[in-house]
Amino acid sequence: MEIGVLFNLSMLQATIRMATPLTFAALGGMFCERAGVVNIGLEGIMLNSAFWAVFATHFSGSPGIGLLAGVLSGMALGAILALLTVKYYADQIVIGTGINIFGLGFSAFVCQKIWGSRGASGVVAGLPPLHFSFLDKIPYLGPLLNNNTILVYISFLAFILSHYFLFYTPWGLRLRAVGENPQSADTAGIDVHLYKMIFVTIGSTLAGLGGVFLSLAHLNFFAWGMTSGRGFIALAAMIFGKWTPVGCFLASLLFGFADALQMRIQTLGILPPQIILLLPYLITILVLTGLVGKATPPSDYKPYIKK
């Protein structure tokens, strides 16, 4: 009976919901690192996008516009990160931390101005769940995949497209070269700085989508600090996924699964909650130490100074 409480459809649906923001952020982080920039600012980028999505929806009444605003916010912060680290050789960790602090401070400030509380925004119209009638006919998988918001499907699409792009197109090859050995890439006639800037921006935009998922798809309001460390967990998922799209996706699913499992074990009351709350982190540590083997980063993350 207890197994039935733990492993059922609702639990798998929760897994997908908890994994989606991580998938976006992990893929985003992967693109940045493939281009040779460590994006420690994922958390702040997500939080900002989550905020702007609610902000724009509040004033336009349309969650579609909110989604767009979230994407633009991710893009803008990504462009700033790219410009400062790639073009002006600023320290990546310093800029990333700056973005995180900015995200917390800025969202609280505007929230206070608009909703009179820096803790949480008012409720806005969220992205509606989509229903595909053809999925109804598929047993098991159908109900699992159906009735999600558009962002869940975009996250599936994003990881498949990223995989194809990275390993089966010439641009993907060039991107990998830019990260691994910018000198040779430059010699081969690739505009290293341009590639870095474009893909840091794309990566940050993806992370922004993760933030939009939190505030506009899963919930329909913004709360201060609502990313709650997901940007950093996504970094772990990215390393665990060995900087590959498929790896990032599976690692995010695993973390989502651990979270969903943890929630259900708690309500069985068989273990103290402190131990159960450790579960996702425990899995992270176990996986990083034992299963993954040596994690070799795709770049040395040094700014490329053209000679």
């Binding site: 919901r17 609280a108 509380s117 820096r118 609502m226 979270d259 929630m263 309500t267």
Partner: protein, 340 residues
């Protein structure tokens, strides 16, 4: 050039200090809010309301600050205390305790009040609430309102302050004796993760719960969102949270405004005493937003109407529980840390 700007600076500093010199007479009320700031429709707003009431009735000035982070508490407390302009300084929130313990010793003549936590200094009044008693009342309501006879509770963190709520709640459900059971508490592990709060509530609803009580700060907002989405009953905490959704039927209310008001008044009337002031249902510091007198107060404050009617038989039961707790006929248990 440089000399002139320096002169300007001195003049400006002087101008800034001028008002504080002029207004030296007549002591004021100092209020240091918790990090959530005003507009939270909860702790801060309610404390502020209590201080405003005191300031209007006593005809004294009120100064308040909204610190952004725990690290800022000590600075504000010291600024307020060292200015010697305040009859009493009210600090809101348990996380001000560490800073206050230090500052209270530095300024032994200054009166302080701390909401929701104990600081063992003679010049600090620690205002504590018997949250377990309010949990009991809410538990009685939940037991009657649940049709599936399964109730879920979502907590922020597994700390005594939160356990206090839930111990009382479980006892209330038991006392109502409707055959309803409360599932083991689901903890979010964070105060600002509404995403996880919502998922926890969904998992409880999937297990058959049709009443969910959330005491988890911002994470609790997510849990209440889940009750809205699935059309089950939700319950709130601290202030009346029923304005958040039609099917949020009741909230345990911590009347911080009354506690703050009474303490400020005692300070100006010279009856202030340091030490622990712990009150509950009997003194009206802890209540339930569905009692008639409370209901109108909250509906006016937050400008909304409760949508779901709670049957009068149920409210009679809750009223009975309140009386018995007030008279001491029902002893509601507490966590060990609170002497339970």
């Amino acid at each position: 050039m440089k000399k002139r700007s320096f002169l300007m600076l001195i003049i400006m500093v002087f101008l800034l200090l001028l008002p504080s010199v002029c207004w030296g007479e007549g002591k004021k009320i100092g209020l240091i809010l918790a990090t959530g700031g005003l507009g939270d429709k909860s702790f801060n707003d309610i404390s502020y309301a209590g201080a405003v009431r005191a300031s209007e009735e006593l005809g004294v000035e009120l100064d308040y600050v909204e610190p952004q982070a725990v690290a800022e508490f000590e600075g504000y407390q010291r600024d307020f205390a060292s200015s010697q302009e305040y009859e009493i300084i009210v600090c809101v929130g348990f996380d001000q305790a560490d800073a206050l313990d230090k500052i209270a010793q530095e300024f032994p003549e200054q009166k302080f009040a701390l909401v929701d936590m104990t600081v063992d200094q003679p010049n600090v009044a620690s205002l504590l609430f018997k949250a377990n008693e309010g949990g009991f009342l809410l538990g009685v309501q939940a037991a009657y309102m649940s049709e599936t006879k399964k109730i879920g509770i979502v907590g922020g963190m597994d700390i005594p302050l939160i356990r206090d709520f839930f111990i009382g709640f479980r006892e209330g459900v038991k006392w109502a004796d409707t055959g309803a059971e409360v599932l083991p508490t689901a903890y979010v592990g964070a105060w600002t993760d509404p995403t996880k709060g919502k998922e926890l509530a969904l998992s409880l609803i999937d297990q058959g719960c049709d009443v969910i009580w959330a005491a988890a700060g911002k994470s609790g907002l997510g849990a209440l969102e889940a009750t809205k989405e699935r059309g089950v009953y939700g319950m709130g905490v601290d202030a009346c949270q029923c304005y958040l959704g039609e099917r949020i039927i009741a909230s345990e209310t911590k009347r911080v405004d009354i506690a703050v008001y009474e303490t400020i008044k005692s300070a100006f009337e010279g009856t202030f005493q340091g030490g622990i002031l712990e009150k509950g249902v009997a003194e009206g510091w802890i209540s339930n937003c569905r009692f008639p007198e409370e209901q109108s107060f909250w509906e006016e404050t937050f400008n909304f109407k409760h949508q779901v009617e709670i049957p009068s038989e149920v409210m009679q039961k809750v009223e009975e529980a309140r009386e018995k707790i007030s008279k001491g006929e029902i002893k509601v248990p507490r966590p060990e840390e609170f002497g339970g």
